[in-house]
Structures are given as structure tokens and as C-alpha cells.
Amino acid sequence: MTVRAAELVMAVFMTICSLAIMYKSSDGLKIGWIPGSGPGSGAWPFWLSFGMFLSCLVIIYRWFRRHTPESNSTEPYIGNQESRIIGVTIAALFFLLLGAHIVGIYFSIVLFLLFYLKVLGGHGWGLTSFLSLATPTWLFFFFEAVLQKPLPKGYAEELFYPLYDVIYGKGGSVVTLMVLLGIPALGFVPPLLNWFRGRAAV
């Protein structure tokens, strides 16, 4: 699809959305002035979406008249190479969110990172395994223990009961601190080793 085509498609799509919002704003709500009360509840969104509708009509008009760079451009909207990486990334994100409903966010993150780092990024198993396991672990201790904001766990909720015993049991604060500081510290070990090796070689 060229940029010119995409410009028209987007403008038409937004026009339809504007009309839909106008309809929804007036559905059961007053869009005019109510004596003694002021503007109706639907007035503000209705007239704003009417403005959106007019803007879209102007964009479409300018497309026909070729007044904008986008309406003249025959460049691809998204190139072949780019569409692969963007498409795969969007799909991976979609499955990350879908997985959050089923197996919970933590396991979903593991699968997402395994795919992204190994398949898309081509990284080694060492780095992939470390990040895939360390990231959700760190997030679990940070959100559950420190912020006390539980993240969704889906059908895998029961698997986390032993970890709750750790966090809220005796010594839970110490374990939490060790995990939160230890995992980032582990991440610095490989570059430090490389640096020492370089110095030793000199």
C-alpha cells in the first residue's frame, strides 16, 4: 500500500469513527441546551466528534486535490522489511496480552521474551534464558512484595501460593531485597568479566 492510499484509507476510517462517536454521544443523551441546567451530557462529545468529522472531510478533500505530501507520495506506507519486524512485534505483543488472561502476565512474559530474544533477536541461549526468567521474577517481587499491586495470574494463580509464603513469611523482606538487588547485579557480571579479561590480556 502506498502512503497516498493509506492516507485515504485512514481518513475514511476516521470519518466513519467520527460518525459512530456522534451517534453514540446522542444515544440516550441530550446534545443541546437544557433550560436551567446547561449543556446536555452528550453535547460536549457530540460537537467535538462533529469537529472531527469536519476535519476528516477536509483531509479527504485535500487528498483529492493532492495538497499534502502524503496525498502525493507513492512510497510504500510500510516497506517489506519493516512490515515483517513491525508485524511480528505487534503479533508478539498481542499474544503477550492474550497470554496474560490465560496463564497470567508472568508466564506470558517468559514466553514473550523467549520468542523475542531468541527468534527475533537471534541472541544466545544464555542471555535469553537469563532475561526470560530474571525479568518476571524481578517484576513479581517488585509488584507483589514492594508495591503490593498483584498482576494478573490467570489460571496459574495457585502456582504462586508457595511464593506468597516466601514474600509474606519470616524473612520475606530480606529475600525480596536480595532478589531486587541481586538480579540487576548478576546482569553486570558478564561485562565485568569481559573487562577483567581485557585488562589481564594487556
Partner: protein, 508 residues
Amino acid sequence: METVLEPLLVGLLQAFEPLNLMMLVIGCLIGLFVGAMPGLGSVNGVAILLPVTFLVPPTSAIIFLAAVYYGAMYGGAISSITLGIPGASTAVATVFDGRPLAQAGKADLALLTAAVASFIGGTISIVLFTLFAPPLADFALKFGPTEEFALMVLAFATFIGLGGDDIPKTIFSILIGLVFATIGLDIISGKPRLIFFDIDGFLHGVNFLVLAIGIYGIGEILWTLEQTKGDVQVHKVTTSFKSFVANLKRVREYFPTTVMSGVLGYFVGILPAAGATPASLMSYGLAKTFSKDPDSFGKGNISGIAAPESANNSASTGSMLPMITLGIPGSPTTAILLGGMIIWGLRPGPLLFSEHPEFVWGLIGSLYIANVFTLIFNLALIPVFVRVLTLKFTILAPMIFILCVVGGYVPEQSLHDVWLMFIFGVFGYLLRKLNYPVAPAVLAIVLGPLAERSLRQSLLASQGDAMIFLERPLSATFIGIAALLALYPLFAAWRRRVREATQAASDQ
């Protein structure tokens, strides 16, 4: 002056409190990192990190986020100079002369110049902020709902007039942001509005963070994934104490340019449609125009680094002035900070000075300290940042996505919001490819509820007579300036056509 010094001293002491100081230091470090990474900027960092601040008191939260904002202004130069890729849009102008200097083996000179200029610009703007904030807040106390609404119209008009983007698309972006702000329960009647497909998740409205993280988190990374295909070359940075001293002595070469850019950046930063990006570009242009050797710009002139770096730091502080005193953000990042303040239970505006002076002066005091800390960290940690820049984007991108997902979930603890964020991110990316500006939408979703309340209160007071906005002098002034700004692009286009026609006629 005495009315400023005493609360400023209190604010400085507050910024030195252990929790606040810790948040400030962490914020500066994170900001430097965020600014240095291509594809991330202050707005991304602040949007993604805002949910983390729910853990701390509001004063500590704003100090942290302001430090992130500040640090990102410093950090943007690192990527611009060593990679040739702007760390953020605010550091675009730094590439013009920073990259050629690095290619000539003088990356250390370029980085030091950027750091020192940032410090000078930051200092100028913080002093101006301290002096301007209390009188502007006093002036804003005269505002009623009519003036508030007119001021918001002016804020939106500056996007149309000065934003430089396609006007119908800018207007569309503003309006769609305002519409998103109406989703949920009507503030006056309590009736549900725009509950699409009867999904219950819409009943609590669309949190501005969902839009902000979607656009500036997910959308931005998709954009960067598309743009940064191919290898990036990191220039080696070698430095020694001797070269550090020698480079420091060259400050006097660019000191006047830096001061001028700092002052300019501050006033540009105050404008809602502006912020650090146009401030840095304008300063670069002016520095080149007034230079004795304009042809050397673009080839490694250190004034070409000093000017934009001073301006972007200065503009970041300037953009906080209308946010704090008027409740109008001066940049996309301050729009998110404003939203954060509302979430923390604070009402941005002139009453903040009287109702929460510890918040305002704590923020102002922290800016002085953040300026010093960020300079020290920037100079000391340059080798670390350069090392971090070699981190592959295929490692960084999924980490940012995960941060966005959990950040989008935390405010309302709803996966509905995360899905919305994902949709906003993908659409934001697609719209951006067609030159739809996204910053106005974020500003609009933050200001939307305030604008609607002010409008309805004004119309109720006037029994439905819209002329009230023109009958009150301040409101009429704001509306008049807004109209001029909105018409300015049409005037500029007409003048361009006349000039082209005259040129064509004289060529014949």
C-alpha cells in the same frame, strides 16, 4: 525578593530530605539513561515511570519525574554525538555539529560542551522560573472558569499556529483527545457516555496514562524499530584529565551563545505547543545566524552543540512554569506531569502555591540540586553510557514493551486498559506515519475534563450566552490571541504564495 528567598530555602531543605534526595538521584540517573537511548526521550520515560510514583508522596513523586525530565535533556546529547542518532527529538540539533566533532576524534570535547551548556542553560532557566512563578500564580488567581477555558483554547491554538504540523490533522488530534477524555461517567449528571459495545471497562473512563504510554511507549518503539534498521556505529570516546581541563577552558568561546540560548529556550518552553524540541532548533538557527563563522556550523562548531543543549534544558524548566501556575502544560512531558498531579490529588494552578507550597517549592528547590547532580553524573558516567549504547535494540525493545504493559495495568489494575494502550500504541504509530501529530491528543486528554467543566460552568453562569467569553477582558484577550494564532498558518501560506508569485514575475 525576600518573598522568594525564604520559601526557596525551605524548598531546598526539603529537596535534601533523604527520600526526596534519593528519588532525585535515581531520577537523574534514569533520565540520563532514558535520554541517551535512541527511541526513548523524556516524555517516554516520564509516561512509563509515572505508575511507579504511586508508592511515594506527591512531592517526592514530582521531584523524581522532574529529575527524569531534566536528566533526559542532558542524556540526549550522548547518543547524538556518539551514534549520530538523536537520543530524543530534543537533541536533534546536537547531531548537526556533535557527530562531525566525534568523527574528527573530539567526542570528549563535544560531550563536555553539551554537559556544560546544559548546566548553564538549566541554571538560567531555574532562576527565571523562581522569579516568574510567584507573580504569575498571583495573576492567575484572578481567573474564573471563563478565563480557564479561554486559556485552554489558547493552548490548543498554539499547537495549530506554531506546531508546524498539518492543520486539519492537528485539529483532529486535539479533538480526538478531548473525545477520549469524555468516555466514562459525565462529571455533572453522572450519566455514562461513550461506553462502546457496553464494555464495563469504559465506565471508569480512559486514563490519560493509557494513551500516553500507548503512544510514547509502544508507538515510539514501533517507530524506532522501523527507523533503526541497519548497523549503528558507536564512536569511541577517549578522555584524560589533561584533555578535560583543556576542553573546559574553551567554555568562554561558547558562553555568550549558551546564555542567549538559555534565555530563548526558557521563553519558548513556556508556550504549550513548543517545548524543548523547537527551542533547541530555534537556538541552533539563531546561533548560526549571529555567528562570525556561520559556514562552520554543521562541520563541528562547538557553539552548534552549546546552543541547542542550553536551550533544551532551559525549555524543560520553562515548560513547567505554566503547568504549575496556570495548569496548562508547556510541553508533552509536562502534560503527563500534569496528569500525574491530578492523579496524586493535586489541582495544578495558582492555588497550588497557597494550598501546597511544600510541593511547589520542593520542586523548585530540587531543580537546583538536580542540575548539579546531573552535570556530575553526566561527566563521570560517559564511558558507562557509551557502553550501554552498544546494547542491541532487540534486548531493549521487549523490556520497554513489558514496562509499558505493567505500567498500563497498574493504575486501574485492569487488563482492559492494557488492551486499550496496545490499540492506542499501534494506531499512534500508524497515524504518525501519515504525519498526524500525537502530542496534541495527549495534551487534550489531560486538559479535556478541566476544559469541559470550565465551559459548562461558564455557560451556566451566563445562562447559555457564549458571549461571556468575549465580555470578560482577560478571557477576550486569550480568545483574541488564540484566533490570531489559529489564523497565522493561513497568513503565512498566503505570504509565501505572494512571495513566490513576485519572484516568478521578477524572474520573467
